[in-house]
């Protein structure tokens, strides 16, 4: 099936890049650890003994105990490791039924086992040739294929680092990290039907709670949503035409139809109307006060209507946009809007300048201690799917300050996290079809 890709580039602009600094060994360690975890999880998840025993019983029902020759051919997507495990298991199971393995010329029956598969199952086919005749007896067993998997990580200089947070089959709209030590230990995952809370216990994620989202109207296609931690409650959930709040402990979710605007400035909701940030590009530590700007989201569409509250200077309305990013300056804030016509509108309160940066439709800002202190993440085309790259704005032209981080599919969401120095990117894995959420954070260059 074809897979839509949301975030390739508007052509004709080549982004500037900074030189690559020395690569760290960290990404290799991340990848290795992840690989080992995934491999061990998958290996532990599959029990082949039942189909092995079933097939062995069916075979011996035809051949009877005695000497047979055996060959096994893997025609499936089983890994070499699983193939070895299955082959050894089959041999043991067959021996357990009284069969002995000999060379073909010494055997009473020649047994060929094909490890095959169909769309939903592994299918193991045994062809049995007895007494040198041309007729083949065929016996078959099948066992369902396991689904699922998790995610990955890597890093580059001034470096945008992606860390896997969560993966699931149904579309993820947003992920919020609610508690963390060295790594996240408490997550909220938003999808179309519920907010699920997960806690890391004993090295594994355990579902703590699932809170259903009630909504009267159908969701738009290309559904989008946001999780915003509250100051005095766990979460606010923004969905098209619906606003939900958690209350109590354990939290309960109450939802209502609402056209309340979605916050564009990161940070927990429920505080005052101003956020104080260090200004971009200023070494003197001056700060910028930024109104907690919010924007109305079209309840039956996949974009913001363009109506802002409060207004950005004289601009209360900008064109329909998919996403926005903020770059505070000493005396003003520059807002970037990735509009539905594929352009980027730069609004500073006095002027609205339109440009094409070769970006996709999702952008987000980070407040960091690296570089100019503010970076704008933007989606774009990668080598085989989407990528995300960090940019800074010395003036009105973006300068790419990181290499592009490649993803295994289309980026379907990119939101700044509440802590402001990282963002959550959700990707639909092109190969598996599952949705994977990553945390994107900038690591300072040496």
């Amino acid at each position: 099936m074809r897979i839509a890709v949301y975030n390739s580039a508007i052509p004709d602009v080549t982004a500037n890049t900074v030189p690559r600094a020395t690569r760290s060994i960290l990404p290799f360690i991340f990848r290795l650890c992840f690989f080992l975890i995934v491999v061990s999880c998958l290996a532990a998840a599959t029990d082949w003994s039942v189909p092995e025993q079933q097939l062995a019983r069916k075979i011996v029902a035809i051949t009877g105990p005695g000497a047979v020759s055996l060959s096994v051919e893997n025609r499936s997507s089983l890994s070499r490791r699983d193939n070895d495990i299955v082959q050894n298991g089959l041999r043991s199971a067959l021996e357990g039924t009284g069969l002995r393995f000999v060379k073909p010329e010494q055997s009473a029956a020649n047994l060929t086992i094909f490890l095959s598969e169909n769309a939903s199952s592994y299918v193991w086919v045994a062809q049995i040739q007895q007494g040198g005749g041309a007729e083949l007896a065929v016996v078959i067993v099948s066992t369902p294929r396991a689904a699922g998997g998790s995610s990955a990580g890597e890093a580059v200089p001034l470096s945008l680092r992606k860390t896997p947070l969560w993966a699931q089959e149904s579309p993820i709209l947003d992920v919020a990290v609610l508690e963390e030590g060295a790594t996240p230990v408490h997550l909220a995952v938003l999808d179309a039907e519920r907010v699920s809370l997960y806690r890391m216990q004993g090295g594994r994620w355990q579902q703590e709670q699932a809170m259903e989202i009630s909504h009267a109207r159908p969701w738009p296609r290309d559904l989008r949503g946001r999780l915003i931690p509250g100051r005095d409650h766990l979460l606010d959930v923004y969905l098209p035409g619906v606003l939900c709040h958690t209350a109590g402990s354990p939290p309960a979710l109450s939802c209502r139809e609402s056209d309340d605007p979605w916050p564009l400035v990161s940070g927990a909701t429920g505080g005052n109307d101003l956020a104080v940030f260090p200004s971009a590009g200023l070494a003197n530590g001056a700060s910028t006060v930024v109104p907690r700007t919010a924007a109305f989201f079209a309840p039956t569409r996949n974009f913001f209507t363009g109506v802002l509250t409060p207004a950005v200077g004289k601009f209360a309305i900008v064109p329909h946009f998919y996403s926005a990013a903020l770059v505070p300056r000493e005396k003003y804030s520059l807002w970037l809007f990735a509009t539905t016509d594929g352009q980027v509108h730069m609004v500073d309160g006095i002027s609205d300048q339109t440009s094409k940066f070769g970006w996709g439709s999702d952008i987000a800002n980070l407040k960091t201690s690296c570089g100019a202190g503010w970076q704008v993440l933007a989606t774009g085309p990668g080598i085989s799917a989407d990528s995300v790259r960090a940019h800074e704005f010395p003036d009105r032209d973006p300068v790419a300050v990181s290499s592009a981080v490649e993803f295994p599919g289309a980026v379907t969401a990119l939101w700044t996290e509440a802590r402001s120095d990282s963002a959550v990117a959700v990707v639909r894995n092109r190969e598996t079809g599952s949705y994977e959420a990553y945390r994107l954070a900038v690591a300072c260059s040496q």
């Binding site: 099936m1 949301y6 975030n7 580039a9 025609r75 094909f114 169909n118 299918v123 065929v138 085309p381």
Partner: protein
């Protein structure tokens, strides 16, 4: 190739497509579609029409089924949210709430039951407040697969006789067999589609469709399997389904004598499927020795598709007669004549005489049969029904039982599988978000037109 081949093909198509500039889905616009099939009825339950990928695709634009099948062949809720056995061979399906037909009336259990009864007069269906219960003589899994077929989509007849559905688009204009105009269903339960309208021109052959695509008159077309590689240039987006169409030789009568069976065996062994696929089909599809493709069953490779001239000649040598058989092909199918002629040449090498013909009353026919479902048991049953063969009913859903049924069908020597072909489609680069389903149909429910400013 160890992995399932069609998956690679489809993914590779998507990779080609992904290099173009794209954005989030955009709303608006009319999509122009051209198709070969001249669909004469928009009633999903109308069993008079021939099943085709195009018909399935159209039905899914306007109507919804109670359940669907996902990429792994698992049944997923659609208009029904859940189901459970309410007794032996009784399945109760609970309906999703808050859904309305295009005419504004609510989807009720009564309406669902009426629609299903219309499509399946032999089913015994009862209703509860928000559920329907179906008594059946199949396994539950086979019934669910059947409910996922487009022919079991839920419709409601409006006062003017037109069918009304719950799908993403509704009928605006309908000229049977010629043109269908659909407009968006604003209140669709799965959200308003991105497109405003779809205009579908029917009865266009592959060449005319390609011309329409090149001239900008159509933005979405069907592509003959053998043309797939040629079309995959010039920034077009292309995609294929899993191999879902069986090309086969179908005898018009049962084999009546040992000679007849031996001759048919000789014919089956004589066909050089691999070289025909390479040359005439331009590498499309897969040679088939089985009725169902391997991705569906996992055992198809046990039915050899290799030509074996020695066995063919040996089989022919067992016979005392040497009749001339007429082989009919569809004169409107450009590649069918070439296939028939090549098969006749192969057969001659084995001593079997075939005379290609466009006469409908031939001894055997070259047929293309779209497989009804990605569920192999249902696909085999429907295939047998479509070809007039009889398949023994099994109570087991096991792969082994399926294998036995298929083996029995092939042993009749009334059908000789040749190829499994995918359904292929092409679209202009500005059409995004379209997909090809496992059953060979296309889906434009999430399609949208890119409309970026220069």
């Amino acid at each position: 190739m160890k992995r399932i081949g069609w998956l690679w093909l489809v993914v590779s198509s998507a990779l080609l497509a992904s290099l173009a500039a794209e954005t989030r889905p955009q709303y608006g616009g009319t999509l122009h579609v051209a198709m070969r099939t001249a669909v004469s009825s928009l009633d999903p339950a109308d069993t008079g029409g021939v099943d085709s990928f195009a018909r399935r695709s159209l039905m899914r634009l306007m109507f919804d089924t109670l359940v669907t099948m996902d990429e792994s062949g698992r049944v997923q809720g659609w208009l029904a949210t859940s189901w459970q056995a309410s007794g032996p061979q009784r399945l109760q399906l609970r309906l999703r709430r808050g859904i309305t037909f295009h005419d504004g009336n609510a989807l009720t259990a009564e309406a669902v039951a009426a629609s299903l009864r219309s499509a399946n007069p032999s089913w015994n269906i009862s209703v509860d407040s928000d559920s329907v219960t179906i008594e059946h003589d199949n396994s539950d899994s086979l019934l669910l697969a059947e409910l996922a077929l487009a022919r079991n989509a839920i419709e409601k007849k409006m006062s003017d006789g037109k069918p009304s559905g719950t799908g993403p688009f509704q009928i605006a204009e309908w000229q049977p067999g010629k043109k269908l105009t659909l407009t968006t269903a604003e209140s669709c339960w799965r959200g308003r589609p991105f497109l405003d309208a779809i205009e579908i021109e029917m009865g266009k052959n592959y060449r005319d469709q390609m011309l329409a695509l090149e001239s900008g008159k159509a933005e979405f077309i069907e592509v003959a399997a053998e043309q797939f590689h040629r079309v995959s240039v010039d920034g077009r987006e292309i995609a294929s389904s899993a191999p879902m169409e069986l090309t086969a030789l179908l005898f018009s009568r049962e084999a009546t004598s040992p000679d007849d069976k031996a001759l048919r065996e000789a014919l089956a062994y004589s066909v050089e499927r691999n070289s025909i696929r390479s040359v005439l089909l331009q590498g499309a599809g897969q040679p088939a020795g089985s009725l169902l493709p391997n991705w569906m069953t996992g055992y198809a490779f046990t039915f050899s598709a290799e030509a074996d001239l020695n066995r063919a000649r040996h089989a022919h040598a067992q016979t005392r007669s040497n009749p001339t058989w007429t082989l009919a092909y569809d004169p409107n199918d450009t590649v069918a004549r070439l296939l028939a002629e090549r098969i006749a040449l192969n057969a001659r090498d084995a001593g079997v005489t075939l005379q290609p013909s466009t006469n409908a009353t031939a001894d055997l026919r070259l047929v293309r049969i779209p497989l009804a479902s990605a569920n192999p048991s249902l696909a085999l049953t429907a295939l047998a029904s479509a070809t007039g063969l009889s398949v023994a009913k099994t109570k087991s859903d096991s792969v082994e039982a399926l294998y036995a049924s298929e083996q029995a069908l092939l042993a009749t020597r009334q059908i000789v599988p040749l190829f499994h072909l995918p359904a292929s489609y092409a679209a202009s680069a500005r059409v995004k978000g379209w997909t090809v389903n496992r059953d060979g149909s296309w889906s434009l429910a999430d399609a949208w037109l890119e409309n970026r400013q220069p």
